[in-house]
C-alpha cells in the first residue's frame, strides 16, 4: 500500500501547493484590485481612520476639523462655521468630497507624496499618521460681511473679494448655501439622503455660483470694452468725446440698440467718463463695432477670460462667445455684456482687481499655507501674475473713470466716507419676463487698492429695465465687503 500512499501524499502536496499559489495570486497579484473595489467597505472605514487636517481661515478661524470619537468611525469631520463657509471648505461625505476638501484631499488625509518624509518619521516614532493642515487666504470678517449682506437681499447670488496686489481670495460666498456637516456624517443613508435633498432643491445650493457657473455680466462688462478702447489709442482718456445716440442702428439689420428705457445719453456727444457713469449702451455698442470682435476678445483674454484656473478648485471658464461672422452686430451686444458673453463672479472680480492693480491681473488663489501635523510648512501660496491686461497709464485712466462712477454715477450706493471707491454696476437681461441679474464690481481705496469685489445677485434687479438696480441691490453688498476688509 505504500506506493499508493506515497501517491496520495503527492496529491495532498499538490492540493496545498495549489492553495498556496492561489493565495499568492490573490494577495500579491490581484490585491490592489480588491483593495480599491468600490464595493470594498474598508476604504470607507479608512476615510475615518486618519485624523484629517484642519482647514482654517487667516490662520485662526477653524472652518473644518476632525475630532476623535468612540465607535466604529474614529475621526469625524466637524464644520464649526457651518453654512458660512460651505462653498469654500466643501463637504467630506462617505464616498466623495468637494471644494477644498476635494482639491487638497491627499494633503488633508496625509496620503500625499509631499508628506512622505513626515510619514516615514511617524513610522519610526510610532505616531499615527495625521493629515496636513490647510490655511486659507479668506478674511473671516469679509466673508461674514459678504454672507450677511448677500443673505439680506434674500436672493440667490455670489460675492467674491480679491486682494488686487496678490490675488488672494478674501471672501467667497455663494447663496443659497448648505450645512456641510449634514452631508459629512459617516452613516451613508443619512449622508446620501441629505445630499439628494440638496441636489433636488430647485435653488441648487450645491452649486458654487462664484466659480462654478457663469452669467451674463451686463454693464459691468463695459469696463472691458473701455479698457480695449483705451488700449487702442493712448491719446484717449475719460474726457475724450464719444458718440452717444439715443438709438444705435446696427449693421445688416433693422433692429437698433437703445439705452435703458430708451433714454437719451447726454446730448448725443458725451465724454467717455459720462457714458460710463450713466452706463449708456449706445457709446459702448458703437465702440464695439468700431474696434471689432478681435480687439474686444483680446482684451477679455488679457483679463483672464477663457483661462483655465484652479484656485485650487477648478473654475468654469468665462467667455465672450464666439465671433458671429454672419452677424457683425453681435459684437455691439457683447460690448455691453449681453448676448453670449458669460462670466463667473470670480472672473469679474479679477477684472476689477486687474484694473486696480495698474493693469496687472494676479492669479487668484485660496490656499495661503499648508503645514504638516508638526507645523512645518509643506506648501505656500505665492502671488503670481496671470497677465498684463492694460498699460499702467491706461489702467490709471480707467481707475479714475470708475471712481467717477461711484462718486457721480450709478454706483453712489457704494460710497464709503473717506475712501475713494471705484466701481461699476451692471444689470443683465436674461430671459423675457424674468428679472435681470444685478452686478457690481469695485475696488478700494483707489490710490492703494486693498480689495476688489464682484457681487452677483441672480435675478436681483427689482424691476425690469431699471438701470439703477445694479447699484440698488448689488452695490451696497460690495460696499459692506469693502468696509469689512478696510476695517471701516
Amino acid at each position: 500500500m505504500n506506493s499508493t500512499l506515497k501517491r496520495a501524499a503527492v496529491a495532498c502536496l499538490a492540493m496545498f501547493a495549489l492553495l498556496m499559489i492561489n493565495v499568492n495570486y490573490l494577495q500579491a497579484v490581484k490585491a490592489d484590485g480588491y483593495r480599491e473595489d468600490s464595493r470594498n467597505n474598508r476604504n470607507y472605514f479608512e476615510r475615518y481612520a486618519v485624523q484629517r487636517g484642519r482647514i482654517t481661515a487667516s490662520g485662526k478661524t477653524i472652518l473644518a476639523q476632525s475630532t476623535e470619537t468612540k465607535g466604529p468611525f474614529k475621526f469625524l469631520r466637524d464644520y464649526p462655521e457651518g453654512e458660512l463657509y460651505a462653498h469654500v471648505t466643501g463637504f467630506f461625505s462617505p464616498e466623495s468630497e468637494s471644494s477644498i476638501e476635494r482639491s487638497e484631499n491627499s494633503l488633508l488625509d496625509g496620503s500625499s507624496s509631499d508628506l512622505l518624509l513626515r510619514r516615514s518619521i511617524d513610522l519610526f516614532t510610532g505616531e499615527p499618521t495625521k493629515g496636513a493642515n490647510v490655511d486659507l487666504t479668506i478674511n473671516p470678517k469679509a466673508q461674514k460681511a459678504a454672507y450677511d449682506a448677500l443673505r439680506q437681499s434674500g436672493k440667490r447670488g455670489a460675492a467674491v473679494a480679491i486682494e488686487p496686489k496678490t490675488g488672494k481670495i478674501l471672501a467667497l460666498v455663494s447663496l443659497p448655501t448648505y450645512d456641510p456637516a449634514k452631508i459629512s456624517v459617516p452613516e451613508k443613508p443619512q449622508a446620501f439622503s441629505a445630499y439628494n435633498k440638496l441636489e433636488k432643491n430647485p435653488d441648487k445650493p450645491l452649486i458654487n455660483r462664484a466659480i462654478g457657473d457663469f452669467y451674463a455680466p451686463g454693464s459691468t462688462f463695459k469696463v472691458v470694452t473701455t479698457a480695449a478702447w483705451l488700449e487702442d489709442d493712448s491719446s484717449r482718456d475719460g474726457q475724450t468725446v464719444v458718440d452717444a445716440p439715443t438709438r444705435l442702428s446696427l449693421p445688416n439689420t433693422t433692429t437698433t440698440l437703445p439705452n435703458y428705457g430708451g433714454a437719451a445719453c447726454g446730448g448725443g456727444q458725451v465724454p467717455m467718463v459720462y457714458a460710463l457713469e450713466r452706463s449708456c449702451n449706445t457709446p459702448f455698442g458703437k465702440i464695439g463695432l468700431d474696434l471689432g470682435y478681435a480687439k474686444i476678445a483680446e482684451q477679455a483674454r488679457k483679463f483672464g477670460v477663457g483661462e483655465p484656473l484652479s484656485i485650487p478648485m477648478g473654475v468654469e471658464a468665462s467667455t465672450i462667445g464666439d465671433e458671429e461672422k454672419e452677424d457683425p452686430a453681435a459684437i455691439a451686444m457683447t460690448s455691453i455684456g449681453q448676448r453670449s458673453a458669460v462670466m463667473t463672479p470670480l472672473q469679474m472680480a479679477m477684472i476689477a482687481a486687474g484694473i486696480a492693480n495698474n493693469g496687472s491681473v494676479m492669479k487668484p488663489y485660496l490656499v495661503n499655507k499648508i503645514t504638516d501635523a508638526k507645523g512645518d510648512a509643506v506648501d505656500e501660496g505665492e502671488p503670481e501674475e496671470l497677465s498684463e491686461a492694460m498699460s499702467p497709464e491706461n489702467a490709471a485712466k480707467l481707475k479714475s473713470m470708475m471712481v467717477s462712477v461711484v462718486a457721480n454715477g450709478t454706483a453712489k450706493t457704494a460710497q464709503i466716507p473717506g475712501v475713494e471707491v471705484g466701481g461699476k454696476t451692471g444689470t443683465a437681461e436674461t430671459r423675457e419676463g424674468k428679472a435681470p441679474h444685478a452686478w457690481f464690481i469695485s475696488f478700494a481705496p483707489a490710490q492703494d487698492p486693498q480689495v476688489a469685489v464682484a457681487v452677483f445677485v441672480e435675478s436681483g434687479a427689482a424691476r425690469v429695465g431699471e438701470e439703477a438696480t445694479g447699484g440698488g441691490v448689488a452695490a451696497p453688498i460690495g460696499k459692506a465687503i469693502t468696509e469689512a476688509v478696510l476695517n471701516k
Binding site: M1, N2, R7, M15, F16, M20, N41
Partner: protein
C-alpha cells in the same frame, strides 16, 4: 529506531501556546491599546489544557509523533484568537456579534477531554477494525439523523443539524465522517484483494467487475443523498472524495479514481441541472465580480467580501485587530481563513497552510510507517480527509474551486467540528504511537540477525 522526542514536543507545545498568547496580546493592544484583561485566563486555560493533553499523551502514547499536538494547538489557538478578535469589534454586523470566544474555548476544553479519553480508552486502534460494520451503520445513521422529523433542524438553508435538548445543536455529519472513514478502512482491508484483482483489462486500465462496483455506487448514492436532502454540498464532496482516495490507496487501481471522477462529474452535472443553488454556486465561481451576481440573494457578495478582505490584507496583512474582517459574512466560521488572511496577510496564510500541510504530512508518514493494512488505511484516510477538507473550504473561499460550505478544521467556530477533529487527531496520535513504537526485540543471535522491513 525513532526517538520519543518528548522534550522537543513539550518545547514545541510551549512555543505554540506562546505564539497564540502573543497574538492575543497583539489583538488587545491594537484594538484597546492594552493587553486584554482576560489574557491570563485564556493563557492559563490554553496552556493548562495543552499541558494536560501532553501528560496524557506522554503516559498513554509515549512514542507518538512529537509534532502533531503542537501543530494542532497552534491552529486551534489561532482560531480562538480570530474569534476573540471578531467579538471585540464594535461593529453591529453579525460577524462581530455572533463570534463567541468563550464558547469556543469551552469546546476546545471538551475537545481535549475527548482527545485524552480516546488515547486512554483506545489502547490499540486495531480494535476499531472489529467495529467496521457498526461504524458504518453509526455513520450512516448520523448522516441521515438531521432528516428525522423532530430531531433535525434547518439553519441557513442547510438541514445538517440536530437539536439535543439542554445542549444545543450539533452537526452529526462531523462525527459521521470519522465513523465512515473507520468503516471504509475496515471494509476495504477486507475486500481489497477482490477489488484490486478481479476484473478485466480494457485498453490501458483494469476495469473492476460490475458487482464490485456496489460499494462505490452506494457511497455515491449516499453522498448525492446528503446533497439532495440536506443541501450540504461540502460534506457530500468531502465524503465521496475521501472514499475514492481510500479505495485507490487500498487497491492500487487507478480505474477506481477514474470511475470516481466520472461519477462525481455526473453527479455534479445532475445536481447543477436540478438545483438552482448548485448552479448558482458555479456561476459565482466563474464570475465572482459580476455586479448582478453581487447583489443577488445567495450571490457572490459573501465570496467577494472574503476576497476584498484578503486583497486588503495584501502581503503583510493589516496586523491583528487592525483590519475589518467583521465585514465578511460568516467571518468566524466558513470564512475564517479569509478573515485571518486580512490581518496576517499572505505571509501568515502561507505559514498557516504550511502548518496544515505538516499535520497532513505527519499523518501520512504515520500511515506509511504503520505495520498493518487497517492502520495504514485508517491513518491514510484520516490524513487525506483533513487535507481534502482544507482544500475544499480554503479553495472555496479563495475561489480556486466553487464554494461549498465546510468548516475550516480547528479554526471555525462550532463545537461539533472541533470535537470530531480532536478525536481524529487522537486517532492519528494513537496510530503514530503504534507505528513508531519499537518492534519487540528479536533475540540477538550473532550471524542470524533478523532484519525488519516495513
Amino acid at each position: 529506531m525513532p526517538a520519543k522526542r518528548r522534550v522537543a514536543q513539550l518545547l514545541m507545545l510551549a512555543l505554540a501556546v506562546v505564539v497564540v498568547m502573543g497574538a492575543y496580546a497583539n489583538v488587545g493592544l491594537a484594538m484597546d491599546e492594552k493587553i486584554p484583561s482576560g489574557m491570563l485566563t485564556y493563557g492559563l486555560s490554553l496552556g493548562g489544557l495543552m499541558l494536560a493533553a501532553y501528560l496524557v499523551l506522554a503516559k498513554f502514547a509515549p512514542w507518538a509523533d512529537p509534532l502533531i499536538l503542537p501543530l494542532v494547538t497552534l491552529v486551534n489557538g489561532l482560531g480562538l484568537v480570530m474569534i476573540y478578535r471578531l467579538s471585540e469589534s464594535d461593529s453591529p454586523l453579525p460577524s462581530a456579534k455572533l463570534a463567541s470566544p468563550n464558547t469556543q474555548l469551552l469546546w476546545t476544553l471538551i475537545g481535549i477531554v475527548l482527545f485524552s479519553a480516546t488515547l486512554i480508552f483506545l489502547r490499540d486502534q486495531r480494535a476499531l477494525q472489529r467495529l467496521t460494520y457498526t461504524a458504518g451503520a453509526a455513520g450512516l445513521f448520523l448522516l441521515v439523523s438531521p432528516l428525522i422529523p423532530g430531531l433535525g433542524q434547518e439553519i441557513n438553508g442547510a438541514r445538517i443539524w440536530i437539536g439535543i435538548p439542554g445542549v444545543g445543536q450539533i452537526q452529526p455529519a462531523e462525527f459521521a465522517k470519522l465513523a465512515l472513514v473507520i468503516f471504509f478502512a475496515g471494509y476495504l482491508v477486507a475486500k481489497r484483494d477482490v477489488l484490486a484483482l478481479a476484473g478485466r483489462r480494457l485498453l490501458f486500465i483494469d476495469l473492476p467487475r460490475a458487482r464490485d462496483l456496489g460499494p462505490v455506487l452506494i457511497t455515491w448514492g449516499v453522498s448525492l443523498g446528503v446533497l439532495v436532502m440536506q443541501k450540504d454540498l461540502g460534506s457530500s464532496l468531502l465524503l465521496f472524495g475521501t472514499f475514492i482516495a481510500m479505495l485507490y490507496i487500498a487497491t492500487q487501481r487507478i480505474s477506481w479514481v477514474i470511475i470516481g471522477i466520472l461519477l462525481f462529474v455526473g453527479g455534479a452535472v445532475l445536481a447543477g441541472l436540478v438545483f438552482d443553488h448548485v448552479q448558482q454556486r458555479f456561476e459565482v465561481f466563474l464570475n465572482p465580480g459580476d455586479p448582478e451576481l453581487f447583489v443577488k440573494i445567495g450571490g457572490s457578495e459573501q465570496l467577494m467580501q472574503g476576497l476584498f478582505a484578503m486583497g486588503s490584507g495584501g502581503i503583510l496583512g493589516t496586523g491583528l485587530g487592525q483590519g475589518h474582517p467583521e465585514l465578511i459574512p460568516l467571518a468566524f466560521s466558513d470564512f475564517i481563513f479569509a478573515a485571518t488572511g486580512e490581518e496576517i496577510g499572505l505571509t501568515g496564510l502561507m505559514a498557516l497552510l504550511m502548518v496544515y500541510a505538516l499535520i497532513v504530512e505527519r499523518g501520512l508518514r504515520t500511515s506509511i510507517a504503520a505495520r498493518d493494512p487497517f492502520t495504514k488505511l485508517l491513518a491514510g484516510g484520516l490524513s487525506f480527509l483533513l487535507a481534502w477538507q482544507v482544500f475544499i473550504i480554503v479553495g472555496g473561499v479563495t475561489n480556486l474551486i466553487p464554494l461549498t460550505g465546510l468548516v475550516t478544521p480547528f479554526m471555525s467556530q462550532g463545537g461539533s467540528a472541533l470535537l470530531a477533529n480532536w478525536i481524529l487527531i487522537a486517532l492519528l496520535v494513537r496510530m503514530s504511537d503504534a507505528a513508531r513504537r519499537p518492534p519487540p526485540q528479536a533475540i540477538q543471535d550473532e550471524g542470524l540477525t533478523q532484519v525488519f522491513q516495513r
